[in-house]
Symmetry: C2
Subunit: 299 residues, 2 copies
């Protein structure tokens, strides 16, 4: 089955202690779409400006991403610029130019409205609602978020939680949302807000699922060198949803494997700037790391 | 086979946001010895003052700990007092009274000098050296440490690394020692300093082994409530060494299982003040959580 992915499509200028790269393909939907494309047909909904490089359209197409829902508007593409500290964990935003993204309203093409798997990648909760308002018969809806929306759109986010099946957020966001320091206690509180599947993303420490079958401790692939972690969380949920949408045997039976596949795609994401490494990965590369992770966690 | 454990034996006064407990049984050797006692006969070497409560001698004895090497000296027992922040991750030391520990020189009883498994729990590297100087025919020596020794006794610690088989430290200490931000790159550097087995402790995120058979990602048992994490790292290495010393089939074949058992004992440690919860655990409790961890990480 296919996955509908709605989120930001952006140009990222990223500075790390080792290098600097301007106007890379970025945005939550871009990372998630390329990640999901390894497992399933993907439909992307987003907005770009007239300055959006043709080579990035080609990159989406190389991954078979259906761009019917990609709106091209007069103006500039969303441009984000950020800088990482030496440890590659902390980053600060240097610049945010919203451009055409400021007036973005996701319009779903007719053919996308019945897509069974929906990933509401990180965008404003109001836009995530607007997508769901247009959908019918979605089988599984997952939403990702970020601290910004907890700060400025908490009510809309809380209302969204009652409309979705799965919710992904990082550990500090889970703490912010629930005021719980303990991550397992926080997950229990988040279930009460709506989602049946709660995923806490912990970066290089992996992720945790709390779902109908209890907890799952999902490992992160060990990387000796992180080049640029931007988009790793988006790649994770994208890969997860892509895997889940095509796996046979139902959602519960496949959720753990789906997370591990998402985790592996995220590891490729971290090994290059923007999408440069992810887009060069092959299905065989992904399968190899999944097998490695199996061996790395067995006891 | 039995395990020799040398380290601090102390009275801990611990304050958390929820409660406060004075003069609990603590110290790296106490936590490690009780943890190891679930798997192997333990010989403890340490020092206490004349004020050391008889009930704590009884607690050691309940766990079958051989106290021939526990020196009782005129003066006061090492007393440490600390306070945890709300998130239970950060703590600050309120008071350190070294007492008889200030002049501690570990004397190994004759019967302890050939113990095959040796755990140099966290104490000054000079004392860890002094133990090794008295040993003959040790089969496997593991050392634990803390940031203090990296700050004030780095040369002795580096010299120790060339004399031991296994070394455990936490992620920030690994960074401090190697100047490497990436934990896997740091482990590679630590191997070059001597130890064949390097373990990075990451608290609630679990631990990582780098050994002759590559990496192992060891999970932490999910706890919904952490009461007092003091001694969790000591419990982890203690349980690990206890399990390793009695497991059939060689060190490499058992190292992963040993870490998981150590991790589970550490989880009990966190559920009560001092050793109050650890000492109430049963072998069956430990086996149950090991099985749970297996299920929690399978995919």
């Amino acid at each position: 089955m296919s996955v509908l992915i709605v989120g930001s499509t952006a140009l990222d200028s990223i500075k790390t202690p080792a290098a600097e790269n301007a106007r890379l393909l970025g945005g939550s939907a871009s990372h998630a779409a390329v990640a999901a494309s390894y497992f399933a047909p993907v439909k992307l909904v987003g907005v770009v400006g007239e300055d959006f490089p043709k080579k990035y359209i080609a990159l989406y197409r190389k991954h078979g991403v259906d761009l019917t829902g990609l709106q091209v508007e007069p103006g500039k593409t969303f441009h984000w610029s950020g800088e990482y500290e030496v440890n590659m964990n902390n980053r600060r935003t240097l610049l945010t130019e919203l451009g055409v993204f400021e007036r973005f309203t996701p319009h779903l093409p007719e053919g996308a409205k019945q897509t069974p798997f929906v990933l509401l990648a990180n965008i404003a909760p109001a836009l995530q609602h607007h997508v769901l308002d247009q959908m019918s018969r979605a089988k599984f809806v997952m939403a990702d978020t970020m601290d910004l929306w907890l700060n400025i759109a908490l009510d809309e986010l809380l209302r969204l939680l009652r409309r979705i099946d799965g919710f992904a957020l990082n550990d500090s966001e889970a703490h912010q949302l629930t005021k719980e320091d303990n991550v397992f206690a926080a997950m229990r509180k988040i279930h009460k807000l709506g989602p049946k599947y709660v995923i806490i993303k912990k970066g290089s420490h992996g992720s945790i699922l709390s779902g109908p079958q209890g907890f799952f401790l999902c490992p992160a692939y060990p990387l000796r060198k992180v080049v640029d972690p931007t988009g790793a969380g988006d790649s994770f949920v994208g890969g997860l949803m892509g895997y889940l949408s095509t796996a046979r045997g139902g959602i519960d039976a496949n959720f753990r494997k789906a997370m591990v596949h998402g985790s592996v795609v995220a590891s490729f994401c971290c090994e290059g700037f923007g999408l440069t490494r992810t887009t060069r990965a092959t299905k065989a590369d992904i399968a190899r790391r999944v097998k490695e992770l199996e061996a790395l966690t067995r006891f």
